[in-house]
Symmetry: D2
Subunit: 153 residues, 4 copies
């Protein structure tokens, strides 16, 4: 689907919000692409991100799904809006066994209040990409509450 962003600044707005998320730095996540209604985040393998079998932890996989969904939605929201995840549902389809996690989210519907998103998370092993997880997410747009003003002090 093709979307027209309501804010000319949509890319900068997403990048700034992403860089305020200290958890992204902790897990070494990279914001790789932002388009209107689309977001892509990569997380390279690190032993500190693993579950009991040495694979990417489901918590990291869901973080990537949730964050790409949130920013895919945020890219379509008004200049002075902030975004919150209402809920998401994630299916884990293959173990996160590989050197890189790639999350990609596409907006299905951008409503006045709610935005619906679908996400895929791929695991790259020896350069080969495989579907690792898929999510469906509901986001809410909070109008007149700019993202940067919500900072917890």
């Amino acid at each position: 689907m093709k979307f027209t962003p309501k804010s000319a600044n949509y890319k900068k707005k997403v990048e700034e919000s992403f860089h305020r998320q200290k958890f992204m730095k902790l897990i070494n996540a990279k914001l790789v692409d932002v388009q209107p209604g689309y977001c892509e985040i990569h997380v390279p393998y690190d032993v500190n991100l693993t579950q009991q079998h040495g694979f990417f932890h489901a918590g990291v996989i869901s973080t990537v799904a949730d964050n790409t969904a949130g920013y895919a939605g945020f890219s379509l929201m008004e200049e002075n809006s902030s975004v919150l995840t209402v809920e998401f549902k994630l299916n884990l389809m293959s173990p996160g066994d590989g050197e890189l996690l790639i999350g990609k989210s596409n907006i299905l519907k951008n409503g006045k209040t709610l935005t619906i998103c679908r996400s895929e998370v791929f695991i790259v092993k020896d350069g080969k990409e495989k579907l690792c997880a898929a999510a469906q997410t509901t986001l809410i747009e909070l109008k007149n509450s700019p993202d940067k003003n919500l900072i917890n002090k």
Copy 2:
């Protein structure tokens, strides 16, 4: 609901698996309680776990929901089984604004192959506990594949 564990060792089994999860150490998660069909995990606030507004990141909240669900289920599984999350759905109901995140999961049904779980995540602020998120999760029991043998080398 009351469950009878199939492994006398259920608590030790969960603790060992939890401590093999390096991601739990990274986010400083504590395994606080394990009962048959129940698991509780705490995560104290740390600025490295925050999203753009300075609250606990949804990825941390979902990690806690997923992990308590997985271990609540694992506590009921056979000695030589391992557990995987098939899918989960999480509603975020209040911002993770507080000093401590508490995840609690209870098994709804422990089937032969699949186990269904409900989870609540609470946020504690100034000592007051508030419902932050709720999840419903499907787990699968992999028989004859002991958790510790699956370690990625």
Copy 3:
């Protein structure tokens, strides 16, 4: 949880809306109980409601889950609001093999815009009640759009 309804009329409002749903009549659903934040619906077995094995169809089970959730939420909404289901997630845990389907929904959180609900659907066989399905649902309150004014002409 205890809730205080915003409309003194909450029970009548739910009953009238329920009786406008012609699909409820088709499947012979009975609105059995409405309390603030709670709703219960029963559907007696009928061969026309079955799937390929002769059990209650998952579509009927999800109808009961969705409708009890919607009306549990609606009971807490303002006099002039209507309710829509944003999304729901349903786990089917046992076949709908029995003479009566009982749906019960309880509100977890009644927010300004969104309301979150948990539902259980039980199957009664030879008088014995068994958990058949469990759902978690997100509802939205549409203010100043009374339910009865939305009728499609």
Copy 4:
């Protein structure tokens, strides 16, 4: 995605199972297309299928989503297997306001035990198709229990 069916009979198997579902007859659902990993079902508008505003009831929409998912999965399963829905999550994005409901499901992953599916339900009004709902579903394959032998007597 392209899938190779394990049963040469896959189409006949789905059609026979569909026609054993008496609930499909009650709601006048038509099985319009079955391909390996794909299923499409149509339901024409009928006043008996409506909710309180006169639109298709969410229960009918979720029936269509669930059934197309189940049969998309069933088309890939072994000759002697039957299929059950483990769980599904459905987002309702537009009211079911129109003359025809069209459900389409595509398999994302066909695993040994579990199969994951994505579904879209469209509403057609005055000949124009609009996305009405989207689902993500987990199915389980029950091997050596042929669908037709499970009939409830």
